[in-house]
């Protein structure tokens, strides 16, 4: 069992968390969004092998936050409240 740091509750079991996607994937606005651009937002991901910034939800407190985590080692480098600028 890995412990993830919730910025509000501290270290908690990984089973309490839900992965919400890559951080920085901003929804395109306006009516003139091309199909490729829209598909890129909806489906296409960087899916990096190393560190990446991810949106997570701590389901027990209901808060969204940003976690910087390495997908190969599972080491968590940082965990911070969502600034409001991230989607």
């Amino acid at each position: 069992m890995q412990l993830f740091p919730c910025p509000f509750c501290g270290p908690r079991d990984e089973t309490e968390f839900h992965y919400g996607g890559e951080a920085g994937n901003v929804r395109p606005e306006g009516a003139n969004v091309s199909a490729d651009f829209w598909a890129n937002y909806l489906w296409f991901r960087a899916n990096p092998t190393g560190p990446s910034r991810e949106i997570w939800m701590h389901m027990t407190c209901g808060e969204f936050f940003v976690m910087t985590r390495d997908a190969s080692t599972h080491v968590v480098a940082d965990s911070s409240p969502n600034s409001g600028r991230e989607p």
């Binding site: 079991d13 199909a35 960087a46």
Partner: protein, 417 residues
């Protein structure tokens, strides 16, 4: 040297101390250029190289493998082969694979131990039975052998299942595909490797792809840990690591990589002669020829490139197994591992030319790549030889995401990946 495998050659070698067997495949020094390169020495990559040589006569092909062949997901799956999908496009693809598997041992002169022992998906409520009836109807319309099973039918094929009225998930019936089964997964990789090598394909192990040779906007080869290797056409069949190679080529894919775990118990005498999966627990199990119970379940829902998996999911899978077969609670687990699977939003593979011309994709098989090896290889070989889609692979082109023509098997057939 003895190259062909048969009862007669086994007898002959047995009488002479087994000293005459030729190595199953050559270990060549890579050339500086080939007609085609396939990145990834798993089942799909080796099958692509084999069909490229066999069907299309293109034998100056290299298969590049960063580790050892069949050491990725081909050696990490639960060996189940089935074609119980919902949409006609999927059935055309997986049905082709299923048919090729049936004759693969003879085709490759290598016993892949395909055992069509049947697979039952157990349903636990009347609502699930209605969905099961819809699935069975769709499968039958698509020409797949499928039967709707009653509770008594399930008892007939899996008598040691938990039929207790107090069970957490009572048995209402199920979906039966009699021609589904299992095969020896390593043998599929080794059989394709041996046959491809025999046709002239160079299988280069311990050779990692580090980048692409891109000239005038076109892929003209691969930068590898053993130096540059040029080819006009390159295919990639690297499953969970597809996004990493795509980044080297300068594009993104609609893929998330997750760990999928599996485990085996200690070997026991024959107790289960079919494949059983439960819609309630999400656990599935079969018994290998060695007697081990081969157990699998759902994904670790944490993006990962670590080939080991986390404990909570393993606990869920084992709890499900004990619910389905209480007697298995006495067994010890012997091995546990994980493979990195390439999960696509519509749970269907991506086959076709990539955004980098000259580079072709075979990825996105998610948790179900093993059953599709012969078809995935056939499709990638066709793309590499002709530079265009086979009719069966066209619906699976990467362009389906921008067009909105998804083939959503997660919603269609309830495949949970």
């Amino acid at each position: 040297m003895t190259r062909r495998y048969s009862a007669l050659s086994l007898l002959k070698e047995g009488l002479t101390g087994h000293r005459g067997w030729a190595p199953a495949w050559r270990t060549p020094v890579p050339k500086t250029s080939y007609d085609a390169i396939v990145i990834g020495g798993g089942g799909h990559g080796l099958a692509a190289a084999y069909y490229l040589a066999k069907t299309h006569g293109i034998r100056r092909t290299a298969v590049l493998e960063k580790g050892w062949i069949g050491g990725g997901n081909t050696g990490r799956n639960t060996t189940v082969i089935r074609s119980n999908y919902f949409y006609p496009e999927s059935v055309a693809l997986y049905g082709l694979s299923h048919r090729l598997y049936k004759s693969l041992s003879a085709e490759l002169n290598y016993n892949i131990m395909f055992s069509p022992r049947g697979m039952v998906t157990v349903c636990h409520s009347e609502a699930e039975m209605e969905i099961a009836a819809r699935t069975v109807n769709a499968m039958q319309i698509n020409g797949v052998d499928a039967e709707l099973f009653s509770s008594e039918d399930v008892r007939r094929v899996a008598p040691i299942y938990n039929f207790s009225p107090k069970a957490r998930f009572p048995v209402h019936g199920g979906v039966w595909q009699p021609s589904a089964g299992v095969a020896r997964h390593d043998a599929v990789a080794w059989g394709y490797a041996r046959a491809a090598s025999g046709l002239g394909v160079d299988i280069i192990q311990n050779c990692e792809a580090l980048g692409f040779i891109i000239e005038a906007g076109r892929c003209r080869g691969v930068e590898t840990s053993l130096g540059p290797i040029r080819a006009e056409r390159t295919g990639m069949a690297v499953a969970g690591h597809s996004s990493a190679l795509a980044a080297l080529a300068g594009f993104k894919l609609p893929i998330n990589s997750y760990a999928l775990q599996a485990c085996v118990s200690e070997p026991v005498k024959p107790i289960l002669d079919t494949v059983v999966t439960s819609l309630g627990t999400g656990t599935y199990v079969s018994q290998s020829d060695k007697g081990e119970l081969v157990i699998g379940g759902g994904l670790d829902r944490i993006p990962s490139y670590a080939q080991r998996g986390n404990l909570p999911v393993l606990e869920t899978v084992i709890a499900g197994l004990i619910e389905m077969f209480p007697a298995f609670g006495q067994l010890k687990l012997m091995r546990q591992w994980a493979g990195i699977v390439d999960v696509v939003p519509d749970s269907s593979p991506i086959i076709g030319e990539s955004p980098l011309p000259g580079l072709y994709l075979n990825c996105g098989w998610g948790t179900g790549g093993f059953k599709a090896i012969p078809a995935g290889g056939t499709m990638l070989a066709h793309l590499l030889a002709k530079g265009a889609h086979h009719p069966i692979s066209r619906p699976f082109d990467l362009s389906r995401f921008a067009k909105g023509r998804l083939i959503d098997e997660a919603a269609g057939s309830g495949i949970a990946h």
